[in-house]
Every structure is written in structure tokens, then in C-alpha cells.
């Protein structure tokens, strides 16, 4: 092998840089996020908790396509209460606090969904309230 002296240390440095986040965090994955469940609305969601954890993004995409593209605006009923399909119109009716619910896991997993570029959190919605 040519240039053994440079290639092997180079490779080692490369691997070290690549894995630096692991060393930086001391081989720990950090504290697990604890999203705050909504209060006073019961434990029931549109799907069982585990399923929601795993697939809420697929469900949101499915709702989005049904409502926007197929004009299927049928409603969902949870605990006897009817909701219109949608992030603002269904999910955030109970999960009113995006920071304490959505963000806790999203930040931990370092995912940045663009939902809130358009959709309003309840907090934002009241920040510019109609005044009449």
C-alpha cells in the first residue's frame, strides 16, 4: 500500500469525526422525552397510544390527502365527541400545547416537520384574535 502513513491515520480521524456525536454525549442517548398528555379529556385518542406514537405522521398525511385532494371531509368521533379531520381542527383541540407535546419528541429525535409553517398552534391562533 502506498502512503500508508497518511491514509491510515486519515481514516482513523475520519471515523472519529463521523462518530463524534456519540463520544460527545458520553455513549448515552440522553433523557427520554416525556410529552405532556392533554389534561381532562380522557386517555382516548383516534388510535391507541402506541399506534399514534408510531404512525401519527402517516395518519396526518392520510387525512391531508383525504381532505384536500379527495374532498373527503368526513369526521372522526373520539369519546363521543366529533372532530373534523385536521391538525388544527382535531389533534390540537386536545393537544393544545405544541411545545409541551409535539416538540418534546421532535426535538429529541431532531425531526423538524413543517406542519407549523402553515398550521396554527392554539397559542398562535389567539395571538391575533378577531376584535369585534
Amino acid at each position: 500500500m502506498y502512503n500508508k502513513g497518511t491514509i491510515i491515520p486519515g481514516l482513523i480521524i475520519f471515523v472519529l469525526i463521523l462518530t463524534s456525536p456519540i463520544w460527545y454525549n458520553g455513549l448515552k442517548a440522553g433523557d427520554l422525552p416525556k410529552p405532556e398528555a392533554p389534561m381532562g379529556v380522557g386517555k382516548q385518542c383516534v388510535l391507541p397510544v402506541q399506534e399514534m406514537r408510531d404512525t401519527h405522521m402517516q395518519l396526518l398525511n392520510q387525512w391531508r390527502d383525504e381532505v384536500l385532494r379527495d374532498d373527503d371531509r368526513s369526521t372522526v368521533v373520539v369519546n363521543g365527541k366529533t372532530y373534523r379531520k385536521g391538525l388544527q381542527m382535531a389533534c390540537m383541540q386536545c393537544h393544545t400545547d405544541k411545545e409541551k407535546f409535539c416538540d418534546t419528541c421532535h426535538e429529541y429525535a431532531s425531526v423538524k416537520p413543517y406542519c407549523w409553517d402553515c398550521h396554527l398552534t392554539p397559542k398562535q391562533a389567539v395571538s391575533k384574535k378577531e376584535t369585534h
Partner: protein, 273 residues
């Protein structure tokens, strides 16, 4: 027997929905309306070569300018209602470049560029015409969109937008012969006056336009602009393919014109001037 049962169900369905308080629009949101629209249509004689009678529901609108000329402030109310319901931003004059328009007002010469501008009546010459997306039967914007982010809704003929899919190429803006489309050149939120918590805002980098209040129709409501002119008859909304609809009655009675009909996109907004 079957036929009768269907009729019964249809009537029952419509009256049930009517009971909720949406007599005029129930037809548009219930599935039975589709069947109704397909039944017994007598084809109107096509004015153009090869023109075919359209089938299926095509939501449309008749705008009676006589009413708006009488009460111009009604149009401002309609425009404000639309902006409020859809979180449409309002940019200050120095940011005119970034402006977003869903429904806005413009003089006759700008609204009807292919009509004669010569010797207009004083009232028309000074009138402000509402202009909006024409929800064309054959929209050019839908044809040119490379991602199907804008598309024709099958059940009601609305030209809809999927803001999640739009890549912001603005081909639809070049294609639309009505200038009905706006692009979010920057984040619109700082310029939204009041938020409607039931509706999202838009993000920068996508195209938007009038959606004929698809989200309100689903609730049995009329479009916001139509509602703002309620009772005046200035804006009549409904299925222009359904002979029995109110909008068709008006179309049958009055002479109407369309904007830029020569573009061949079959616009669904008609004007009584």
C-alpha cells in the same frame, strides 16, 4: 321500486341536511347531488365548435354588478370576509411586490381585457369589479402544474391547491389567464391581521388562490364573500351544471359575460354588467 327508494333516500337526506341549516348547499356536499346532476340533463346547444355539455357538478358564481354599483361597500365587506376566513395577509404599500390576492377589485378595463372598452356607460366605467379564481372547467393552471399540486376537485369542480405539494415553480401563475394566483414571496404571517383558528396560513414559497371556500361548503356554509352579500343577490353561488339550481335560474334569465372567455378555459364565474 329501487328507483323510488333512491328518490326517497335522496329527499330524506336533503331534508335532513336542510334541517341542519344549509338548504342551498346541501346538494353540493351530499353524494346524492352527484347523481342528481347526472340525471336528466338536456344538452344545451353548444355555441362553439365541438363544445360539449359538461357533466358533473361545477360550482360557479354569478356576480351581479348592478347590485355592487348600487352598494360598493358590500364588495369591501366581501373581500374582508374572505381575508379573515382564509388568513390572507395584507402587505403594506411598500411591499406591494409580495401581495397576495384571493378576491379583489379592479376596473372594467382590467377585469375584461378582451371586451371592448369603447364608450362604456359611466356607471360601468367607474365601477369596481370583483375578480377571483374562475374555477375553470378546463383550467390552464392545472394542465401546467408539474406535481398535481393544483388540481380539479372531482366532486364539485373546484380548482383546488395542495400547499403541501407545491414546489413553487410558478408555472401556474404564467398559465392562468386571469392573474388569479399569488405566490408567497416571503413568510405571510406577520402580515395576517387576525387569525381564523380553523384555517391554516400559508408558508413562503407556495402559490395560493381562492378555493371557493371548500372548507366552508363542507360545513354547509356558503362561501365567505357570498355570505357577506347575503340577501342582496349580488353574488349567487351554486352548481352551474344543474338546471334547477338558483345560479342556473339567474343565468337563464340574465345576459352574462365571462372574463377572457377566448382563452378557452371555460370559466365558471359570470358577470351581469
Amino acid at each position: 321500486m329501487d328507483n323510488q327508494r333512491r328518490k326517497f333516500l335522496k329527499i330524506a337526506g336533503i331534508s335532513a341536511l336542510a334541517g341542519i341549516g344549509a338548504p342551498a348547499l346541501a346538494k353540493l356536499t351530499s353524494t346524492s347531488a352527484f347523481a342528481a346532476a347526472q340525471e336528466g340533463h338536456t344538452a344545451a346547444a353548444g355555441a362553439a365548435h365541438g363544445a360539449t355539455e359538461q357533466s358533473g357538478i361545477q360550482l360557479g358564481m354569478v356576480i351581479d354588478m348592478r347590485k355592487f354599483i348600487e352598494k360598493p361597500e358590500m364588495l369591501d365587506r366581501a373581500i374582508a370576509a374572505c381575508a379573515r376566513v382564509h388568513n390572507v395577509p395584507e402587505f403594506p404599500p411598500e411591499k406591494k411586490k409580495s401581495e397576495i390576492k384571493w378576491i379583489w377589485k379592479t376596473p372594467f378595463e382590467n377585469a375584461f381585457t378582451d371586451q371592448s372598452q369603447a364608450r362604456l356607460s359611466t356607471a360601468v366605467e367607474h365601477a369596481q369589479f370583483p375578480v377571483l379564481c374562475n374555477h375553470c372547467a378546463e383550467p390552464a393552471c392545472v394542465k401546467v402544474c408539474p406535481t398535481k399540486a393544483t388540481f380539479k376537485q372531482k366532486d364539485n369542480g373546484i380548482v383546488a391547491m395542495d400547499y403541501h405539494r407545491c414546489i413553487g415553480c410558478r408555472f401556474c401563475m404564467a398559465g392562468c389567464p386571469y392573474g388569479a394566483r399569488s405566490f408567497n414571496w416571503e413568510d405571510p404571517r406577520p402580515y395576517v391581521k387576525t387569525y381564523n383558528p380553523d384555517f391554516p396560513t400559508r408558508m413562503r414559497g407556495v402559490v395560493e388562490k381562492c378555493n371557493f371556500c371548500g372548507e366552508r361548503l363542507a360545513l354547509g356554509l356558503k362561501p365567505a364573500c357570498v355570505e357577506a352579500c347575503e340577501g342582496s343577490g349580488a353574488m349567487v353561488f351554486g352548481d352551474i351544471n344543474d338546471e334547477k339550481s338558483e345560479v342556473r335560474q339567474v343565468l337563464a334569465k340574465e345576459f352574462t359575460i365571462q372574463r377572457n372567455a377566448s382563452a378557452g378555459t371555460k370559466p365558471s364565474v359570470f358577470y351581469i354588467v
